[in-house]
């Protein structure tokens, strides 16, 4: 029993965090807000590929690093911290591992890994859940099936988070199943991969929201003292950080178990993924509410960057199953629904 990160995991996380800190600060995000699928934003995709991020868990035969899901989760949390406006979780944590497990049925793994191809996915039923990064993506994973760009109909939608570059995407061809199982099982596997990955991103978003707010309330004065010295503000933030920090270990544990799916009971791993996503969704939503309330009117303007983190949380919390959806699933697993 040793519930801490190995040196390799930490080294990769820190390298990616370093790149993102340098390249993907609030100004970068603001740029993505003004021009969602612009070349400046997508330039970072290639840099991430250059660092091997898209192929972190891909086999070496496809040019990947064959690292573990815990490392990937740590990296995704860093992506969440900067509210990265690119479909990284979809390519690196949904497409790559599922395609690798299925024997690369479309022969695109190497292209996803080197950054020349982009895969995105719907965080819910196709045609109902918006798909991010839609104007640039080459491949679309919908309900457990993979489609090329010319096999789908893409209808851009106005997401509350403009940086998402979102669209409703519906299949117009048969596509390629992303596994050997039934369509339903393939779809569940995709949901689980997305749930785990979005949970990691939500932990990063939650941590960033808490940190931005802490910085703000230390500085901002009302009634002659820092807003952060009021007990009500302290308690809002203590609650927010508690819920985010109690979600985090559940995410790392679910990632660790995912790599041992063969040794563990299937239902057990799914239950751990649901735990992670439910806690992370709730934690990030609490952090978002606390952050906005503690910022006061300052958070309530698009002049100030906070809103972009809030909106990303609003998008991801219900994606790949809301907290409630995952509780429902766990309830069945625990024998509580008849």
């Amino acid at each position: 029993m040793h519930f801490a990160f190995d040196d390799d995991q930490i080294a990769v996380r820190d390298a990616v965090a370093g790149l993102l800190e340098k390249r993907a600060g609030p100004a970068f995000l603001q740029q993505a807000w003004s021009e969602p699928a612009g070349p400046a934003v997508w330039a970072l995709w290639d840099e991430l590929a250059g660092m091997g991020v898209q192929g972190l868990v891909a086999p070496e035969s496809a040019g990947g690093s064959a690292m573990d899901s815990v490392t990937l989760a740590l990296v995704l949390a860093e992506a969440g911290r900067v509210a990265l406006p690119l479909p990284l979780l979809e390519t690196a944590a949904v497409g790559v591992p599922l395609l690798a497990a299925a024997g690369d049925p479309a022969g695109i793994l190497a292209a996803l890994v080197d950054g020349s191809a982009v895969l995105t996915a719907a965080g819910g039923p196709a045609g109902w859940a918006p798909v991010p990064g839609a104007s640039r993506a080459d491949w679309f994973l919908l309900d457990g099936t993979l489609y090329a760009r010319d096999e789908v109909e893409i209808e851009p939608v106005a997401s509350v988070d403009r940086t998402r570059d979102a669209a409703m995407v519906t299949p117009r061809a048969r596509g390629i199943p992303i596994g050997d199982e039934s369509d339903a099982t393939n779809a569940t596997n995709a949901t689980d991969a997305g749930a785990l990955a979005s949970a990691a991103v939500l932990v990063g978003l939650g941590r960033a929201l808490v940190q931005m707010t802490v910085d703000y309330v230390k500085d901002r004065k009302q009634f002659g003292v820092p807003v952060g010295s009021f007990q009500a503000v302290k308690h809002h933030l203590a609650d927010a950080t508690m819920h985010v920090e109690f979600a985090a270990p559940a995410v790392w544990a679910a990632a660790w178990e995912t790599d041992r799916a063969g040794e563990l009971d299937d239902g057990h791993v799914r239950r751990s993924v649901s735990l992670a996503k439910a806690l992370a969704s709730d934690g990030a939503e609490r952090a978002a509410r606390a952050a906005l309330q503690c910022h006061g009117a300052m958070g309530y303007t698009d002049d100030y960057p906070l809103h972009m983190w809030l909106k990303r949380v609003w998008c991801l919390a219900p994606s790949y199953g809301s907290a409630r959806w995952h509780r429902l699933r766990v309830g069945r697993e625990l024998g509580l629904h008849r």
């Binding site: 819910g124 109902w128 997401s159 906005l292 300052m298 698009d302 002049d303 219900p318």
Partner: protein, 376 residues
């Protein structure tokens, strides 16, 4: 105790309902917090005025119908039930007007109120400053005496729809030696005066609903002081009272939201009982608010003044409004991110616990003034 409406109020309700059904624009207007939307809303405001629906509770001489508080409530209920446009004139009507009625000279009332009712003058609020948000007494914008009037200098922020308005009301420090809530004066400022610069900026929902107003030696006359020099704090508190109290949020607003939420839930294909429970709780919260308000209006109609329970009122409606929208978005699941009426409404609802005194401050007030706990 009598919880029925008398025949004359029922008649008033029918008249309002019929007029609204016939006149509310379909499809709904675009947001009034954009420049184009605002213009369309002004047309609507002028139609309301023409038919004497813009300020029903005001005396007839100022453009109203002399309607009772009860009828005002009924009108609001019908207004929101009909899905009528947001009132872009509300900051003048609900915040400034009560103060003008209470503190204005007859000349000021004549000059200000009819043009406000007719949406000819459009008023925005100049309370907050970069260093004074919840803490209104931290105001530093100043008013300097000059011959026959005052010269105003400073910066106001978070003025709702400030970029589209014609006038601003706000507090300025008229005694340079003063501090905190002493030495403030309440001024009325035409925004086309030389020295005024208005910069609009976006809200959470992306609309240009806020503005910063910069004043650089703006000259106003003695007749633009409301309620006396140096008395700004107590004059403003009366307005703040009405902002925090009953008038800004009639129960009809939330009953209309609940009705739409119920329709949405009933139309859902596969209704989750956990969400149903939240929907019902929303209905209950709105009903409780309606009944609490009827009780409060009975007291006001009997000559009472709004008390510290206004703070409870504000906490209740603002947090209820957030929950109602969260519930609606939960019904939409992963599709909720698509910008639609519920997501827009959610963003708007999030301002509720922040503006007009944050709910943290309201809870302090409730504890100190309603329950009598010691100030810290």
């Amino acid at each position: 105790m009598d919880l029925t409406w008398p025949a004359e109020d029922e008649a008033f309700r029918r008249e309002a309902r019929q007029w609204l059904e016939a006149n509310v624009p379909r499809p709904a207007l675009p947001s009034g917090d954009t420049r184009e939307g605002f213009a369309l809303h002004l047309e609507w405001e002028r139609l309301l005025f023409e038919h004497r629906w813009s300020v029903v509770s005001w005396p007839e001489e100022f453009g109203g119908r002399g309607a009772s508080l009860w009828q005002w409530l009924i009108f609001e209920e019908e207004y929101y039930r009909a899905g009528a446009p947001q009132r872009v004139t509300q900051n003048g009507i609900f915040l400034l007007a009560p103060t003008v009625f209470e503190f204005g000279t007859p000349e000021q009332q004549q000059r200000i109120l009819p043009r406000m009712a007719a949406a000819e003058d459009l008023w925005c609020q100049g309370w907050s400053e970069p260093g004074a948000g919840s803490d209104l007494a931290g105001i530093t914008s100043r008013a300097e005496r000059m011959d026959g009037g005052w010269r105003l200098t400073g910066q106001k922020i978070w003025t709702t729809r400030g970029a589209f308005c014609t006038h601003l009301f706000g507090l300025f420090r008229s005694d340079p030696e003063s501090s905190r809530h002493k030495g403030l004066t309440y001024f009325l400022v035409p925004l086309d005066s030389p020295g005024v610069t208005v910069r609009g900026f976006g809200r959470l929902d992306g609309d240009e609903g806020f503005a910063e107003v910069f004043l650089d030696g703006v000259e106003v006359g003695e007749e633009d002081v409301l309620g006396g020099v140096g008395k700004g704090w107590s004059v403003a508190m009366a307005t703040t009272g009405s902002e925090r109290g009953l008038t800004l949020r009639s129960p009809g607003r939330f009953s209309a939201v609940v009705d739409r939420l119920l329709d949405k839930a009933r139309a859902a294909a596969d209704l989750d009982p956990v969400l149903v429970d939240r929907v019902v709780q929303g209905w209950m919260d709105a009903e409780a608010y309606r009944l609490f308000t009827l009780q409060a209006v009975t007291a006001l109609a009997g000559g009472g003044r709004p008390g510290a329970e206004s703070s409870l009122n504000k906490i209740w409606w603002s947090e209820m409004d957030v929950r109602l929208h969260e519930t609606a978005l939960a019904l939409e699941g992963a599709g909720a991110e698509v910008d639609g009426p519920w997501m827009r409404g959610y963003e708007f609802s999030l301002s509720g616990p922040i503006y007009a005194g944050t709910n943290e401050i309201q809870r302090n007030i409730a504890a100190e003034r309603f329950l009598g706990l010691p100030r810290s």
